[in-house]
Symmetry: C2
Subunit: 325 residues, 2 copies
């Protein structure tokens, strides 16, 4: 059995309360004694019992993280950032997968609070109405989502993409999204269309409504660039164009969104927009912690994004020369 407060108290001839105070720095204990107690504690290899502490304080030191759709590599990446932020504060992260449906998500939320999470960070499914859970919650979605706590500046990202394409000489671009029911995607598309300058035209295509035209039809229609709302969409586009014998970006340029791990690996590298995941994770956690301390939740925030220019929009066909991968 691990040593407990009582063991180290007895070993030093003081009371458990004093040891507790000394280790936590809370109560008033003389500096000298404090030091000696701390030494003895580390000497014995004392490790506080989180369970006892949780029972006593009502805080488990664990926050719950609810993610949708593990197939999108963005979410694991975000999870990593949340875990890092939590771990820097000595907190643990309980994960749950909102497998498929909003009901499953609701159950996942409940489960995490029942399992003792002090607060929740949620990447909500579309159309989520947050039920009252009794613990602080931070939502990471899109600026236009009601109740959103923090998110990347998806509009700005869209604008950066279009601006970049304009500078590269593109005047007619096809904006390709998956679903217009996604706030994130519509925000990105809005950013793109708003940024179209007078001499540019853009058409928006939602893949859930209509398939992508055949590669050569795109060229015939005068499109010189495909701007996808996600790398996960851009990758099939890119490979499909290449499989059809087109050269990217010589024949047509492609851009994505989110800078997934594979985006730097493909040839040519995918031009994309990177979210500042660490900042978003920090912000979400801060919001939860603030609410835990009975502070008001900080106002919703939007985090700047960064354009990453790679081969799918820059013409040098270096792809044949570079070593791989």
């Amino acid at each position: 059995m691990n040593p407990k407060l009582e063991d180290i108290a007895r070993a030093m001839g003081v009371s458990t309360a004093t040891v507790s105070n000394a280790l936590s720095g809370k109560g008033r204990v003389s500096e000298a004694l404090k030091d000696r107690i701390r030494q003895e504690a580390t000497r014995l290899g004392y490790v506080p019992s989180v369970q006892a502490r949780a029972l006593r304080t009502g805080r488990s030191g664990v926050i719950g993280l609810v993610l949708p759709d593990i197939a999108n590599p963005l979410f694991p990446a975000l999870a990593q950032s949340v875990e890092a932020a939590a771990q820097a504060r000595g907190l643990g992260v309980l994960i749950a997968d909102s497998r498929g449906t909003r009901e499953a998500q609701a159950q996942a939320l409940q489960r995490l609070v029942r399992q003792g999470a002090d607060g929740l960070v949620v990447v909500p499914r579309r159309g989520t109405q947050m039920p009252p859970l009794g613990v602080p919650v931070a939502m990471i979605d899109a600026a236009s989502t009601p109740g959103n706590t923090i998110c990347a500046d998806h509009r700005q990202g869209g604008a950066l993409i279009v601006e970049h394409l304009r500078l590269r000489g593109h005047r007619k671009i096809l904006i390709v999204g998956q679903s217009s029911a996604s706030r994130v995607q519509t925000d990105r598309v809005a950013g793109m269309t708003e940024a179209l300058s007078g001499d540019m035209t853009g058409r928006v295509l939602w893949l859930e409504d209509a398939p992508l035209p055949a590669p050569y039809d795109l060229l015939a229609d005068g499109f010189t660039a495909l701007a996808a709302t996600s790398d996960l969409i851009a990758l099939p586009l890119l490979t499909r164009l290449q499989a059809a014998g087109l050269r990217v970006p010589r024949d047509i340029a492609v851009t994505g969104f989110d800078n997934h791990a594979f985006s730097a690996l493909v040839a040519p590298g995918l031009t994309t927009v990177a979210q500042d995941l660490p900042a978003i994770a920090e912000g979400a956690l801060e919001s939860v912690l603030a609410q835990l301390d009975a502070h008001p939740a900080p106002p919703p925030r939007t985090v700047p994004v960064e354009l990453l220019v790679r081969g799918t929009t820059t013409s040098t066909n270096q792809t044949d020369k570079e070593t791989c991968p």
Copy 2:
């Protein structure tokens, strides 16, 4: 405040112990009373305090999951399976990222046990020596890894790939791995080389040692197929070949490993080997739970894999016709 055992005990004029027994089904309580107590419990919306239960029983109902390298989509996918398996047993999953180094991994392990994990599921970094942690551990790596608990049959996967390529008429293949220090990769490569029939030749290339030859040199050397030890390697190969103007699989075939989410999305679809992640997760969890019940750990196990044949090895160039994605 939530109702506690005492509240429902008082409401029914019985003792807390009886309520506890009734709800857990442990002690001997008359069926009639049991039912009435359960009804009252749900009526009051009783939710047991995991913290109190954990303090009392020494079990937190949480297992820790340690993953390396979030950039590899396999690990999030595995995490999802572990979470599903845990959730089916009413357990929670605390995650930790063994960020980069083995020391970080060691700290992550410690942190999880300090945070109260009852047991650990670990996907170890290369060369990991498991320190004694005081809780049951299951390791998911490769059959050849000492101390491994359960894993996919990587050798079989390699064999399936080579056999498939042979049936498709390939006789000279280049096997491409990242690092020969990875047990998983060496097991896969071993499976491949062992499966080479008499009239086949295979060369092994580790990308950490030497770069991939230029695409046209591969053809000149007579290679008709590239067999990668991971989809994450196959994807750059595929796109690089395509960017160089080669047709896959007409000019050269490509295979991967692990069936990452993007592998079905690229064009042509990537032929690959899928691990049975749910089975692996179940097995790992079972091992931990068995050890928790003081049963001996079940013997190491290997889980069959499945070959997924897609466009990168099947010649019809349907990729121009199919809708996308």
